[in-house]
């Protein structure tokens, strides 16, 4: 027997209360892990962004286009190894107009060379390049659209009116977590040739692959300087910066999630604090007995804090054990398939697990400090008097 085992046994003493507390804290931890995972999963795009890519768009607005000749200029900038371009197409599936997925018209010659994390079998790439109406879709999107290689798919344009027919020539998978597996890409030429003369030869944005990732900022500035005297000016930034600025649009939402996370922790603290305070109150006479036997106030504090640590550990393990099935297999699957654009990889980060566990124990200790301090301050005779 030792102090720790005495603390552990006291935790198990009021079984109903311990089970309820563990359950309550576990639920709070699941909610906490869920919210933190929303934040980390959202940040995945930033964390895993390619370091050697620089994107360029219209300076004033992302909805405005660049002249196609800009791509040649960009390819000539020193440090740029390869460059490609794409246009936002914004079409939707007429069978399911409310479900959103990204679809781009891309330069079929160069796009997959720059975005090499999109993995397509070489034979399929060749077939796609050869077919003007060919399209490649992500595996997640293929599942939700119910299409396979060789199928025909009709999309309804919103920016570019009409029905657009595509042949699915390949399915891409991802080598990196940050890749949205719910995209559709097709030949830019197909779009361009369908447009009236006045709207032709416009590109949405370009993406350049550079030799030296550390020079991303420098090369971005070099590109923008090139077009400074032109009528249409550009804004270039590294992919990481681009993703960061996309995240910045949602910073209030992320702040809200942070605040809710903190409230969850406060609830957790109240739950643990309540249970510990109750246990301490019921056992005050025992602390009196211990003191009468010669134990010191600090021993009493150790007993109570020890109990809290044990309770926090049990609850933390239960919460994390519950989080994995709920977050990864329940919600994670759903979000990856339905909101792949935001959450391409919705999994619990190890750091989240460690943080949740640490917080459960830490908050247990914090919750026990006041009752422990109060119990240790009682005189022996006062504590003993609460005998009956």
């Amino acid at each position: 027997m030792n102090v720790v085992s005495l603390a552990a046994r006291n935790v198990l003493r009021n079984r109903t209360r311990t089970i309820l507390t563990v359950l309550g804290v576990a639920v709070a931890i699941v909610a906490f892990v869920l919210l933190r995972t929303v934040v980390t999963a959202w940040n995945v795009a930033v964390d895993y962004a390619a370091k050697d890519r620089v994107a360029t768009r219209h300076k004033v607005s992302f909805v405005m286009t660049l002249p196609k000749r800009y791509i040649d200029t960009i390819r000539g900038v020193r440090g740029v190894r390869a460059a490609t371009w794409a246009n936002w197409f914004g079409a939707r599936d007429p069978r399911n107009p409310d479900s959103f997925f990204a679809n781009f018209a891309v330069d079929h010659r160069s796009y997959l060379d720059v975005f090499d994390e999109m993995q397509v079998p070489p034979a399929d790439v060749a077939a796609w390049k050869a077919d003007r109406r060919g399209a490649i879709v992500g595996d997640v999107l293929a599942r939700s659209l119910g299409v396979r290689k060789g199928d025909r798919l009709t999309l309804e344009g919103t920016i570019f009116p009409g029905n657009w027919e595509f042949n699915i020539r390949g399915i891409y998978t991802a080598t990196r977590r940050s890749v949205d597996r719910s995209q559709l890409i097709f030949h830019w030429d197909y779009l361009n040739e369908s447009l009236p003369e006045s709207r032709r030869d416009q590109i949405g944005w370009t993406v350049a692959r550079i030799d030296d990732p550390s020079r991303a900022a420098e090369i971005s500035r070099a590109i923008d300087r090139t077009f400074d005297s032109q009528d249409v000016q550009t804004l270039s930034m590294s992919e990481r910066q681009l993703n960061n600025s996309f995240m910045a649009m949602f910073d209030t939402l992320l702040d809200a999630l942070d605040i809710i996370s903190i409230i969850i922790l406060a609830i957790l603290l109240l739950l643990l604090g309540n249970t510990i305070a109750m246990g301490v109150r019921e056992r005050t006479n025992e602390y009196g007995v211990l003191r009468a036997l010669g134990f010191l106030p600090r021993h009493v504090v150790t007993f109570i804090v020890g109990e809290a640590v044990v309770l926090g550990l049990i609850a933390g393990v239960a919460g994390i054990g519950l989080s994995y099935p709920v977050v990864e297999y329940g919600l994670g699957r759903f979000l990856e398939e339905n909101m792949g654009g935001f959450f391409p990889y919705f999994r619990i980060e190890p750091t989240t697990t460690v943080a949740a566990m640490g917080l459960a124990v830490f908050l247990g200790v914090v919750a026990s400090l006041v009752p422990a301090f109060r119990a240790s301050r009682l005189t022996v005779t006062d504590a003993l008097r609460r005998l009956d």
Binding site: R17, V30, K59, V60, M249, T252
Partner: protein, 388 residues
């Protein structure tokens, strides 16, 4: 009936526990109320923007003003039908506008975000009489001037009285006025002369949408039929209120899903907290319960007594939480509208319905949490309760 005073004093005696539990409920109700208030705020902001005697005309197939384009000659055809209200001089009460998105530096961050810019006709104030200037003046026709909604004032670099922002190379618009529109989403927009916006963005004479005020809300169907049957025109006609409801759909679903998820986890936590407290309360008072039973109180009266006590406990928390949530009315919550990728500033709208719903939820949590302990109390045997 056991007098309520008994419950109130019992709660008062166990101060710490009562406060911890009520505090937990308060936090849950706070978050719950805040989510409901935000949901109300979204409804108000986007609902205010639309009225049902106004029809909005977009190009066929485009689901938002941003992706729509209508050629200038078509405007006259759209405003010609007799269902359209006339102004004094016989001109149609209508507004043809162009909408785009500007990327601007966000104040307080190093990122950019998007703001919607609307090129409006010179007589926009007579088409939208609810819009009211709170500072400065209306832009002079033909001048490179703009007015901005009150909600985005100061949120982006260049968006405040006397400041200016770039809309095209070497072409800045100066902010000369700030307007309000009862909290509608227009307050998150930049308004400038239509010709200025069209020329600066190189869009020729194309507009995004045409709004017409109808003679009455009842003639909408006739007007819609008339325009949509004209294949040459190729337009979609919607009630403005329906259009905004559809614009906010994604956002509403998102907020509600998040709210439901958070509310679910949180209420489970609060219910468990109430259960722990009531469980301990019943256990500590077995002697009292036995006495009450010995005095002749029936089992159902004991049950009711404890259910009442836990409801009061939860109601105290509910009142605290609801009161705290009122402070959210001061918070502005900018969110990216998924339909336009531009920011709209929402507020938290504390309606009586929200407060009542929060309190009802609090009491429900108390009842659910108190049920099992109350049953236990009611089932206690008189003799063993007294002996304990």
């Amino acid at each position: 009936m056991v007098p309520i005073v008994y419950n109130l004093r019992s709660l008062a005696v166990r101060k710490t526990t009562t406060l911890a539990t009520a505090g937990g409920v308060a936090l849950v109700v706070f978050v719950f109320a805040a989510v409901l208030m935000l949901s109300e705020g979204v409804k108000r902001t986007l609902g205010r923007s639309g009225s049902d005697d106004i029809a909005i005309v977009l190009r066929d197939g485009s689901d938002a003003e941003l992706s729509s384009g209508i050629e200038a000659p078509q405007i006259a055809l759209i405003t010609a039908p007799s269902e359209v209200k006339r102004r004094g001089g016989g001109a149609p009460d209508a507004a043809a506008e162009i909408v785009a998105v500007l990327s601007l530096d966000k104040v307080g961050t190093d990122g950019q975000s998007n703001a919607q810019i609307r090129g409006v006709p010179d007589d926009v104030m007579s088409f939208r009489p609810s819009v009211r200037l709170v500072a400065g003046r209306v832009p002079r026709p033909g001048a490179d001037e703009a007015m901005i909604g009150n909600a985005i004032r100061g949120r982006f670099r260049g968006l405040d009285m006397g400041q200016s922002f770039e809309i095209r190379k070497n072409r800045n618009l100066t902010v000369v006025g700030v307007f309000e529109d009862g909290g509608s989403s227009y307050e998150s927009e930049i308004w400038a002369g239509r010709d200025q916006v069209q020329s600066a963005l190189g869009r020729g004479t194309v507009v995004s949408s045409v709004r017409v005020r109808l003679r009455s809300r009842d003639v909408f169907e006739r007007y819609q039929r008339q325009l949509q049957s004209n294949r040459q025109l190729g337009v979609d006609v919607m009630r403005e209120s329906d259009y905004y409801a559809k614009q906010s759909e994604g956002l509403s679903i998102f907020i509600n899903a998040l709210g439901i998820l958070v509310a679910f986890f949180f209420s489970v936590g609060a219910v468990i907290g109430a259960m722990i407290t009531m469980h301990a309360s019943v256990a500590n008072r077995s002697r009292e319960i036995g006495t009450l039973r010995a005095l002749g109180f029936k089992r159902w009266q004991i049950l009711l007594c404890f259910l009442l006590e836990s409801s009061i406990l939860a109601l105290v928390g509910g009142l605290l939480g609801a009161a705290a949530s009122l402070s959210m009315a001061l918070v502005r919550f900018p969110m990216v509208n998924f339909a336009s990728w531009s920011e709209i500033v929402f507020t938290f709208e504390p309606t009586p319905g929200v407060i009542i719903a929060s309190l009802v939820v609090a009491v429900l949590m108390g009842l659910v949490g108190g049920f099992l302990p109350a049953v236990r109390a009611a089932r206690a045997d008189v003799l063993s309760a007294i002996r304990a």
